[in-house]
């Protein structure tokens, strides 16, 4: 795993910033095993974005820019990523674990005969003895994993690695010639983005999440004024998503989005294991819940026991005054 290829991701014509902590992972791994890393960017009309990736100490930034890559499809993309990895002599592939890479990377691993570590949170040891840590059982267990194959594939948990630092170095941009091999077995139909004026959950400095304690859409809407004021993203528990109160990509937890904002405000949610797995790395956690025994209080820095319908407007007012709004 001495030659690591990081897959950067684009979303709606821009580099997806949340995909960049994989660069930090690769830089760390390269340091520990005495190797080097490069970054690859796949897409259609993405060549102009390569310059945003050249300052992080990567040896090369490979660009695969062809019309076929306009939309993602697992089979053809896995062929292309594996082909590039082989062409450039990579012995590891890494990308931040999100719905793009979770779909793609296992197929890449299968093509390359590689072992894959999902949701890697840390690198332990170095040299030939390097190991990897990853959460299991909804984050109740930390597993230490060794990769037994010469080639390794890593899903990287973005909240456990910092955004990459500018190193001042300038990576060489290389146009790689990889064909889009369409097998005709899958066709892209459409993408309907979640329309929201709010920041993306994974990028927001403040996240305010609501649970079943808010009861319904009207109750959930109580989060809006506070979120507006703090420029916060809104998150939800699975119960709220299942009840149709919010769209599914707002679900924070083991099987949804994993977030680690500066401030996480949990309102009317009990703190089920599966939810806590997706937010416990937040810097400061505030919980408001009427049940003083709720498990969320055991991870919260500041817990406030009481009725969210009364306390949330009070808190919103207090913050408004504090901000002089």
């Amino acid at each position: 795993m001495k030659n690591i290829l990081v897959i950067a991701e684009t979303f709606q014509g821009k580099i997806r910033k949340t995909s960049l902590p994989a660069v930090t992972f690769a830089a760390q791994l390269a340091g520990k095993v005495g190797g080097e890393f490069s970054i690859a960017l796949f897409g259609s009309g993405v060549a102009g974005l390569a310059g945003e990736l050249t300052g992080f100490g990567a040896k090369n930034v490979y660009v695969v820019d062809a019309p076929g890559f306009a939309n993602y499809l697992g089979g053809p993309w896995a062929k292309a990523v594996a082909a590039l990895a082989q062409q450039v002599g990579a012995t590891a592939v890494a990308a931040v674990s999100d719905t793009f890479s979770r779909d793609l990377l296992p197929r890449v691993a299968a093509r390359l005969g590689a072992g894959m570590v999902s949701e890697t949170t840390a690198i332990v040891g170095d040299g030939a003895g390097v190991k990897f840590q990853r959460p299991m059982w909804a984050g109740n267990v930390l597993g230490t994993v060794v990769v037994k194959t010469p080639f390794a594939v890593f899903g990287v948990r973005g909240t456990d690695f910092d955004p990459p630092k500018a190193t001042g170095g300038a990576s060489a941009v290389q146009n790689a010639s990889i064909a889009f091999a369409d097998d005709g077995k899958a066709t892209y139909v459409k993408f309907e983005p979640t329309v929201s004026a709010r920041p993306d959950l994974a990028e927001a400095a403040v996240v305010i999440s609501g649970g079943r304690g808010l009861k319904d859409k009207a109750g959930f809407a109580l989060l809006d004024p506070l979120a507006d004021m703090l420029k916060a993203a809104i998150g939800a528990t699975r119960a709220v998503v299942d009840a149709g109160i919010c769209p599914n990509d707002l679900q924070v937890g083991q099987t949804g989005r994993v977030v680690a904002p500066q401030l996480y405000i949990a309102v009317g949610l009990s703190g089920a294991i599966q939810h806590v797995a997706g937010m416990k790395n937040s810097k400061v956690i505030v919980a408001i819940n009427k049940d003083e025994e709720a498990p969320i209080f055991s991870v919260a820095d500041y817990g406030l026991v009481g009725d969210a319908f009364k306390l949330l407007p009070e808190l919103t007012d207090a913050i408004r005054k504090h901000k002089g709004l």
Partner: protein
């Protein structure tokens, strides 16, 4: 239409899991086991498709003899028959599971292979994708809606930032997300009926699968606990802490 579907046995998703003192695994004493929640969605989807257009649903599990209990749950939900791939050794990785399931697929030749998007014990989210690549099949992962028309399947996929729709030609691999459906609870008559449904036993030898692992979990530990915080009594006190202590506002 013939559908193959996974029925993985997992520890109770709501149980508090503790690590053994020697770090070799988790404490299993007193733990209950259930069907993986995502497999329940996959099974429900398979049974609904069968109810609409006929065909056969075959449920497959990998594990020791206890895994058959959970396979029976899949049969009670409506699967017609089961396949139990016996694997006494608990050392597994996603790749071995995928290579086993690929072999089962080749024996059964279904039109559709439905799996849970991940198992709530290992949380790897790899198996469906690996199987698809090993069999060179199209995949539609994290499905929240399925529609079959002829030999094509239209799938809505839950992605970060929105909902994507793709169409895949059958045979295909689909992994189920939670919003795909609400899994039915098996009725008592169906539980009884499930006891008489056939379950075929297979071994790795019979399938010709090499048990070698590509990744191995060598140690298990409890994650560092987040330090318990304090309870404040009023919004005023909370504001004071957030502003002056945490400097979070």
């Amino acid at each position: 239409m013939k559908i193959l579907v996974t029925a993985k046995r997992v520890t109770d998703p709501d149980a508090k899991i503790r690590v053994k003192a020697d770090g070799t695994g988790i404490e299993t004493a007193g733990l209950e086991y259930k069907l993986n929640p995502f497999c329940e969605n996959a099974i429900e989807a398979a049974v609904q498709l069968q109810e609409k257009q006929g065909g056969e649903v075959v449920a497959v599990t990998i594990g020791d003899d206890d895994a058959v209990q959970n396979l029976r749950t899949a049969l009670a939900m409506g699967a017609d028959r089961g396949i139990h791939v016996k694997l006494a050794d608990s050392r597994m990785d996603s790749d071995l599971a995928a290579r086993i399931l690929a072999k089962v697929f080749q024996q059964e030749k279904p039109d559709l292979f439905l799996l849970g998007k991940q198992a709530v014990d290992g949380d790897s989210n790899q198996v469906g994708q690996l199987v698809a690549e090993y069999l060179d099949l199209p995949q539609a992962c994290f499905a929240s809606k399925l529609e079959v028309a002829g030999d094509k399947l239209t799938v809505a996929r839950e992605l970060d930032g929105g909902m994507e729709t793709i169409q895949v030609a059958l045979p295909a691999v689909v992994t189920a997300d939670l919003r795909l459906n609400t899994p039915r609870l098996p009725t008592l008559p169906n539980v009884l009926k499930a006891k008489r449904k056939p379950v075929q036993e297979l071994t790795l030898d019979a399938l010709g699968v090499d048990p070698a692992l590509k990744v191995e979990t060598v140690a298990y530990e409890a994650p560092p606990a987040r330090k318990g915080g304090i309870k404040v009594k009023t919004v005023e006190e909370l504001m004071d802490k957030l502003v002056n202590e945490a400097k979070a506002l």
